[in-house]
Symmetry: C2
Subunit: 139 residues, 2 copies
C-alpha cells in the first residue's frame, strides 16, 4: 500500500518531512505539491505518473482541502484509477494511518478508522485543561 | 490576534506557505518548527520570544500533535502566558480560522467553531462519491 500526499504548495512536503522525523523514514510515503508556476494539469500529470509507477499496489491519496485544485485533480483521476482518497489530512491522522498500515490493517479499515478518529484528532487544549482544573477544584 | 503554528519539523512552515498561496499573505500568521538539531528547550525559548513580541495581542497557537514535544513546550508556557491552544490543525481548519479572524470573530468563537468543524473537515471522498452514485442509481 502506497500513501501519496497532494496539496497546494509545500504543505504535503512539510507533512511528509515531519512524519519522517516522528516515525522514521517511510518508503511507502510520497508527496506532490501544486506551486504557482505549475498548472493544475501539470499536477494531474504528476499524480498520474505516480499512480502508474505504483502499478498494482493499493493507493491512499490524502489531499489538503475539499474542492481545492489538488483535490479536483485527484477526483478527476479517480474516474480511471481505483484509488482511495481522504481530504483534510493532519499529523495525528497520517501517523495513525502509517502505524495501522505497518501493522497490516487493510486499506478499507484504515479509511474507516481515520474518519472515526477525525473529530478527536483536533482538540482545544486550553478548554480541556480548564475543565480538568475545575474538576479538581470541585473534588 | 496572532496565529502561531508550532510543529515537529517543517509541517508548520509548509502549512503557513500553503495558506499564503490559498488566501494571500497573512501578516498575523507565523510559524516555528522543532528540528533534530534543536532541543525542546530551544523551541520553548523561541515560542516564548514570539509571545513576548506579540505583547498584549491575543494569541492562538496551533500545534501538530497531542502530547508531542511542540505541544508540551506550548503547554508549559500556558502556565505563564494566557494563550489559546488547539492541537491537530489541518488546512481547512486554519483557513476557517483566518477567514473568521479577518471577519472580526472573537478568539473564543473561533476556537469553538474550529472544534465544531473538525470532524467535517476530514472526508472519505471515495465513500462519499460511491454513496452519491448509488443514490443516483436508485432514482
Amino acid at each position: 500500500m502506497k500513501i501519496l500526499l497532494v496539496s497546494h504548495g509545500s504543505f504535503s512536503k512539510g507533512l511528509s518531512e515531519t512524519m519522517t522525523m516522528v516515525l522514521g523514514p517511510q518508503e511507502d510515503l510520497d508527496y506532490l505539491g501544486l506551486y504557482p508556476e505549475k498548472s493544475v494539469d501539470d499536477l494531474k500529470t504528476c499524480v498520474e505518473e505516480k499512480l502508474k509507477e505504483y502499478g498494482d499496489e493499493e493507493v491512499l491519496v490524502f489531499t489538503d482541502l475539499y474542492f481545492g485544485s489538488p483535490f479536483n485533480a485527484v477526483v478527476q483521476l479517480m474516474e480511471r484509477y481505483d484509488v482511495y482518497h481522504i481530504t483534510g489530512i493532519n499529523v495525528p491522522l497520517l501517523m495513525e494511518t502509517i502505524v495501522m498500515k505497518n501493522n497490516g490493517k487493510s486499506i478499507e479499515e484504515i479509511c474507516d478508522e481515520v474518519i472515526r478518529l477525525a473529530s478527536g484528532s483536533v482538540c482545544d487544549v486550553r478548554k480541556q485543561f480548564k475543565e480538568l482544573l475545575e474538576g479538581e477544584d470541585s473534588k
